[in-house]
């Protein structure tokens, strides 16, 4: 046998043996990574910037910290509309209203009578922090690692290098400490300025500690926040602000032991990137075992997690969907959650199909592969997805994307009837149904007002439509005709897109931060929508920094923007149009600089009210004012599409709760079987290529050998 054939024989034998072995070669996880544990595999596309609950304010960070830190309250996992329930608290807070002389008022006291509201929160005893080096004590009850020596530091590169860990019971002082942290200048909490408006004494406190280190927070006090006893604390806020309870369900108000600040303030640890911003310390069901945001984040079940059970009741239909199968069982179910960095959607999607991720969203590139429209116009999974047992879940998000008219602009803005009719005409002409169909694969719901579905004040009936843009037709809203829009244009003095007074063509300007190649089609589409009315739309694309600057200066005429709810309350949407929040004058979130005295009056009133029929009526009235004035074109509420494998259980869309991981359950055995079935290596093409290359090269080699052996005759 020649050497070539000998080598070929060995290669073929190896490949054949590998194929017979039925081993999975493409698994991105180490073989022994699971053992008997129930492991969830997920991903993150952008590395979290902050894991400090005082700083963190974005969804990709809440994926982690909401499982680690526990504010006193949480959203019920199953109930809808969204409902708050105690988490580390024993009950919902006791709220006491006081007048300016600190005299207690009735529960139903009017907002203008209430000078202060006291929130008294009772905590469950016996809750413990996760094991952590910051809490480790020696035999003399002194902290082991609060004053690290150079010798101790030599072997420390990560938090796991600390040999000893400790824990202690959660107390009311830990919650108070976190409130103090919100205003420490070194921490730069995004809600510091907002909370200074509400929490009594927070502004003064911020001033008093502005030059002090974080370790000084422990021994200073805020006048409005008080530890009543080991398990009770009180927060005093200015006036009546019922939405404050929602803030108490966010990680900003999670407990932080003072020991964490003392431990992490050591410069030597900061130099090694061991900081509280990267290594959390909480009481939640999970703790961060590995924090390598460049590669993966691994969370393990917190061995000290307090007793917590899966809810026994939910929404109508939850039982039938199997969502109450685990009712009353101890949480959490998953032992370990592995989040891997996946920057691109295509590799992520393919790994999901191979079973290496348990759930996935649907990127535009994969939409047709995953979802199809059935005969009745309903969405369903493709056969390939159904064959894999993949399930689809959709939910309308609690956010809104809108097109805004700068009300300070001389053409589209202002209170004049001419400008209002122009805005309404454009509202009718821009066909967002078409937009959702073309650019979002149908993943959105056209907005009829400011409030998204599932938020108090939303109505899906005839009374909930925008009557200035839609008609109610066959139990559904139907966009008014283009003729109606043209009529409005005529009434506004712009018949056929020409200014009646000057005879000049109407040119409007759309400012946008969308300037990438993918956005070109969208922007062209907008041009065409305006062109239906004869309006020439000029796109002023810029980067997001410049765009924000234009908005701050009021230099934009028309723009597109969006808002995602902080909490499920209409106030969190109406405030985007409240006069005192106008962007130009006050630097607030009212980007259109809308000002309507009646709307503002109603806003002030409704924002201090509990949900009630009177508040609902007020919300409807406010919606009517906005629809009439049309400072916004209510674009759409995006619809999230999630796919998950059939070994993944207890999934229910909950757009408010972030601590959902503890409720989820995985069947690892089934996953193992399916992964093996779906990932058998295919080796024959490689063998074929090798044979082909050899066959092609053989004649040339032979010819070369013949030539080399030739002699001069």
């Amino acid at each position: 046998m020649t050497p070539i054939f000998k080598n070929l024989f060995f290669i073929l034998s190896y490949l054949s043996l590998s194929a017979c072995n039925e081993q999975v070669l493409n698994s991105p996880y180490p073989e022994d990574s699971e053992g008997t544990q129930s492991v969830l595999y997920s991903s993150f596309s952008e590395r979290p910037r902050h894991l400090d609950p005082a700083k963190s304010y974005s969804a990709n960070e809440y994926v982690f910290i909401a499982q680690i830190y526990e504010p006193p309250f949480q959203y019920h996992f199953l109930k809808r509309p969204y409902e708050l329930e105690p988490l580390t608290a024993t009950k919902m807070p006791e709220i006491i209203y006081l007048d300016s002389s600190e005299k207690v008022l009735d529960k139903d006291a009017k907002a203008d009578e209430v000078a202060f509201s006291d929130y008294i929160i009772d905590l469950k005893p016996g809750i413990k922090f996760q094991p952590h080096a910051a809490l480790a004590l020696n035999k003399q009850s002194e902290f082991l690692y609060h004053h690290l020596s150079q010798t101790q530091l030599a072997d420390i590169n990560t938090l796991s290098n600390f040999e000893q860990t400790g824990t202690r019971e959660l107390t009311a002082a830990d919650y108070v400490h976190q409130i103090k942290r919100l205003v420490h200048p070194k921490i730069s909490s995004p809600i510091a300025e907002l909370m200074k408006h509400y929490i009594v004494g927070l502004s003064d406190y911020a001033e008093s500690i502005k030059d002090k280190p974080r370790t000084a927070l422990k021994d200073s006090a805020i006048s409005g926040v008080e530890v009543l006893d080991k398990y009770r604390y009180k927060i005093r806020i200015k006036g009546k602000y019922p939405q404050f309870i929602y803030w108490l369900a966010m990680p900003f108000f999670a407990p932080m032991p003072w020991e964490a600040d003392a431990f992490y303030s050591q410069q030597a640890l900061i130099d090694k990137n061991i900081t509280l911003d990267w290594q959390p310390l909480g009481t939640g069901p999970y703790m961060l075992e590995e924090n390598n945001p460049n590669l993966r984040m691994v969370m393990l079940k917190n061995p000290n997690y307090h007793t917590d059970f899966y809810p026994a009741e939910g929404q109508v239909g939850d039982k039938e969907k199997g969502l109450l199968r685990d009712a009353g069982k101890r949480l959490p179910f998953i032992d370990k959650a592995v989040y891997r960095l996946e920057k691109e959607t295509i590799p992520y999607w393919n790994k999901f199909l191979q079973g290496y991720y348990d759930a996935s969203g649907i990127a535009s590139d994969s939409f047709d592969q995953a979802v199809q429209f059935t005969g009745g116009g309903k969405l369903g999974l493709t056969q390939a997805m159904q064959d894999k047992g993949i399930q689809l879940q959709t939910a309308v998000t609690s956010s809104i994307f809108y097109m805004g008219f700068n009300m300070l602009d001389t053409v589209v803005g202002g209170e004049s009837e001419q400008a209002r009719k122009l805005r309404l005409a454009i509202s009718i002409a821009i066909d967002y149904e078409e937009y959702i169909s073309i650019f979002m694969n149908g993943r959105g719901v056209v907005a009829q007002g400011v409030i998204p579905p599932e938020i108090f004040g939303f109505s899906a009936t005839e009374s909930g439509i925008n009557p200035y843009v839609y008609d109610w037709h066959r139990q559904q809203p139907r966009r008014k005709s283009l003729a109606d829009a043209k009529q409005l244009m005529q009434e506004a003095g712009y018949a056929g897109g020409v200014d009646n007074k000057t005879g000049a063509a109407l040119i409007l300007y759309l400012d946008t931060a969308a300037s990438g190649p993918d956005d070109r089609a969208r922007l062209n589409w907008y041009r065409k929508q305006f062109a239906k009315l004869g309006i020439q739309l000029v796109i002023r694309a810029t980067d997001y920094n410049r765009f924000q600057q234009k908005m701050l200066n009021g230099n934009a005429q028309i723009f597109m923007w969006g808002w995602n709810a902080d909490y499920p309350d209409p106030e969190n949407f109406f405030f985007l149009l409240y006069g005192e929040n106008s962007k130009v004058e006050h630097g607030g979130e009212n980007a259109v600089n809308y000002q309507n005295s009646e709307f503002d009056r109603l806003f002030k009133q409704m924002s201090n009210m509990e949900n009630s029929p009177a508040r609902l009526a007020m919300s409807h009235k406010m919606q009517e004012i906005i629809r009439h004035d049309a400072p916004w074109i209510f674009g759409f509420h995006p619809k999230s599409f999630s796919l998950f494998h059939n070994w993944y259980h207890n999934l229910k869309p909950n757009l408010m709760a972030n601590n959902k991981l503890k409720y989820l359950r995985i069947d690892p055995q089934q996953r193992k079987l399916m992964r093996k079935k779906w990932n058998q290596p295919v080796l024959w093409p490689i063998i074929l290529v090798i044979i082909l290359v050899i066959l092609l090269a053989l004649p040339a080699v032979r010819s070369f050998q013949r030539r080399a052996r030739e002699t001069i005759k």
Binding site: R47, P190, I191, D277, Q354
Partner: protein
């Protein structure tokens, strides 16, 4: 030679200062400290006061290049440029705008970059030389013609296509390696196969053709004719004489890129989720983290200067006629 190296290092200082100033100016033409603060603080409830506090805490409330409100040297010293950029010369990269130690991050992230770049370079070099030698060995045969056509085809295709196609065929259809990802230690090997393979395949077209040209130039030399006249076989001529002499431009070409291997590849690292320095730079640009951007540009410049110096030194090692003075 020592004097030459010293002189080159001294030349590097004004060069690096220029790079530093240019990076600084370009960055702040596009981003203001207010923009950076907004980016770090998020989109919601960001007040002017919060922005001012963020800037003050990180020293971005100072003037950019000259401070007219102070006298003497402080005019230069009390500026963002002086405070943030000049300490780079001591390789003190400082803290990123999101609060992480950049030096630590670079130390951690250069290894994955190197893990992809080094095997890509070595295997790529071997494959390119082998293919080029084969082309020279089988010159004027159908095999050479077919290989040249294949090389031109390979050169004409975008590298992004190789990445997506490679992931699709090798990772998804054949299921031989993970589609993307990375792991620490020895577990990283299976994640490196595909990016290295793609890097080698996508580079073979240009590389093999370039080396073929070098070999063909050598093969026409007098010493080759002499070797043949001595009765050496074609393979002996190629491997013992042609390859050795053609190694001078190959080696110097390789030495110049050696230091830059640490910097990683932007596209490969992004598509394969490899946590290297390439993706670190891209992330920093996206999040407007000036501290990281300036550190990475500075590091890139230093490594490039070192690369050029090493090239000069390598000339003296492979060609005894060259002397550095």
């Amino acid at each position: 030679m020592f004097n030459y190296i010293l002189r080159r290092f001294l030349y590097a200082f004004p060069l690096l200062l220029g790079v530093n100033i240019l990076t600084f100016v370009l960055f702040f033409v596009v981003n203001s400290p207010d923009d950076m603060a907004r980016m770090q603080l998020g989109q919601k409830h960001v007040t002017e006061q919060a922005i001012d506090n963020w800037k003050h805490q990180r020293g971005y409330d100072l003037p950019l290049l000259i401070n007219p409100q102070v006298a003497g040297l402080d005019k230069i010293k009390d500026t963002i440029f002086y405070q943030k950029s000049l300490r780079l010369f001591a390789f003190d990269f400082g803290i990123s705008d999101s609060g992480r130690n950049i030096g630590q991050d670079i130390q951690q992230r250069m290894w994955p970059s190197l893990a992809v770049a080094l095997p890509s370079l070595v295997v790529g070099l071997m494959v390119n030389i082998t293919v080029a030698l084969m082309m020279v060995l089988f010159r004027q045969s159908y095999l050479e013609f077919a290989t040249i056509v294949l090389c031109v085809i390979i050169m004409s295709i975008s590298s992004l296509f190789y990445i997506i196609g490679g992931q699709f065929i090798v990772g998804k259809l054949l299921m031989l390696v993970p589609i993307s990802g990375y792991d620490t230690g020895l577990n990283a090997y299976k994640f490196l196969i595909l990016p290295v393979l793609i890097s080698v395949v996508s580079g073979v077209g240009a590389g093999a053709r370039w080396y073929r040209t070098l070999f063909l130039e050598e093969i026409e030399q007098d010493y080759v004719r002499t070797a043949r006249a001595k009765g050496l076989t074609e393979t002996q001529v190629l491997f013992k004489h042609v390859l050795k002499n053609a190694m001078i431009p190959i080696l110097t070409g390789v030495v110049v890129v050696l230091p830059l291997l640490f910097m990683g590849s932007l596209i490969t690292e992004s598509f394969f989720s490899i946590p290297g320095l390439g993706s670190y730079t891209i992330d920093a640009i996206n999040s407007q983290d000036f501290a990281i951007v300036r550190a990475m540009v500075f590091l890139g410049s230093v490594l490039y200067i070192i690369g050029l110096l090493l090239t000069d030194i390598s000339y003296t090692l492979v060609d005894p006629r060259v002397r550095l003075s």
